[in-house]
Symmetry: C2
Subunit: 219 residues, 2 copies
């Protein structure tokens, strides 16, 4: 996935590409059911180079990518999720609790690839530009990298699921990353068992689509 031979002139994107891009946005789903098929390491590394094309505040490039591979680390992450998920379940009552209990909220056990993506708060890159009044921009830059990875992965036939029912500090401890690295996303990645146009949480009656939220307010 390089930019090819158009360095001299900027590309334009035709209607056919835009239509396919719209499909990519629509079919990029949070995937929680994975095939056991291995994912080539070179493909993941290629996708992370693509992710590094994300916008970053002051060009700070604060993303740090960790592949979680050892059995011990994976078991610790799964235990972390299970504890947080049990606590979350207790916060719901009645029908909501029953519904929550039936949702599949991660594919940690099945996913062939686990990626923990951090933001390095100690980076000096970017020299603080754009971060003085909105310091959260550093984290947002990493979110953009996560999203870039996700879209590029889906285009290659891979699915990703973002697991946020997890104690981020414990993840950092498990993975022994530098203290200044903040967990932004824990991703399960692999080839999906099934694909859908609608979000799993819509299909399973947790939360419907809200057309109202797409509207443009004017001031």
């Amino acid at each position: 996935m390089t930019t090819g031979g158009e360095r001299g002139g900027s590309p334009s994107f035709d209607d056919a590409f835009c239509a396919r891009l719209a499909q990519l946005f629509a079919w990029r789903r949070d995937v929680r059911r994975f095939k056991p098929d291995k994912v080539p390491a070179a493909l993941i590394e290629d996708l992370l180079r693509t992710a590094a094309h994300a916008p970053s505040v002051g060009n700070s490039q604060p993303w740090r990518f960790v592949s979680v591979e050892t059995l011990a680390a994976r078991e610790a992450i799964i235990a972390n999720f299970n504890a947080c998920n049990a606590a979350a379940l207790k916060s719901y009552e009645g029908e909501r609790a029953a519904l929550y209990a039936h949702l599949k909220l991660s594919g940690l056990r099945e996913a062939p690839v686990h990626l923990a993506i951090f933001c390095d708060h100690a980076t000096e890159a970017g020299a603080g530009l754009g971060r003085k009044t909105m310091p959260e921009m550093l984290d947002y830059s990493v979110v953009a990298a996560v999203h870039t990875f996700w879209l590029a992965a889906r285009a290659q036939g891979l699915g990703a699921g973002w697991v946020s029912i997890i104690d981020p500090g414990q993840v950092s401890n498990t993975l022994e990353v530098p203290l200044a690295w903040k967990l932004i996303a824990y991703l399960c990645v692999g080839f999906p068992q099934e694909e859908h146009l609608d979000p799993e949480l819509e299909r399973h009656d947790w939360q419907a689509h809200i057309v109202e939220n797409e509207k443009l307010h004017r001031k």
Copy 2:
């Protein structure tokens, strides 16, 4: 930009699409120099519907889009930026200060479209799913929407620039949005005067690309 007629079967994306997508990621740049040409309102509204395909925690869809159109509001935003930019300049010394002073850090005056994108912290959508241990996921969902908008806009020939040298609370006051709305991004949008493959901050010697940051750590 609808998903067309493939609702029955999931799309696959061929090598040609993936190559163009890589170009889109590479040529999506923070734009600060805009042509005066108007942008059709319908195009912006269409792009915001596309942005609403972004992933959101618990399917909470917490994005709120505000088009900033009145002269009074725009002047207040520009004054806000000017004050923050002057304060930022004072924080640098010597060559860095000289370099900072010469950077063009926003296109607020020229951009035909200003979009303020907020996260609604009061939303009940999603019923808190996925937010208990990582409450920041609500903001991250809006970042993903901003990034989706940005990519889709670039594919349509539009440029966007994310202005974070701004006091976010003052923006909220100026736009009189609900107290629970947190500013995530202030975007300048329009047709770009020039297009580049490299980030402006690389080209102008503020911050080079760091290949090291793309590497995959293993645990």
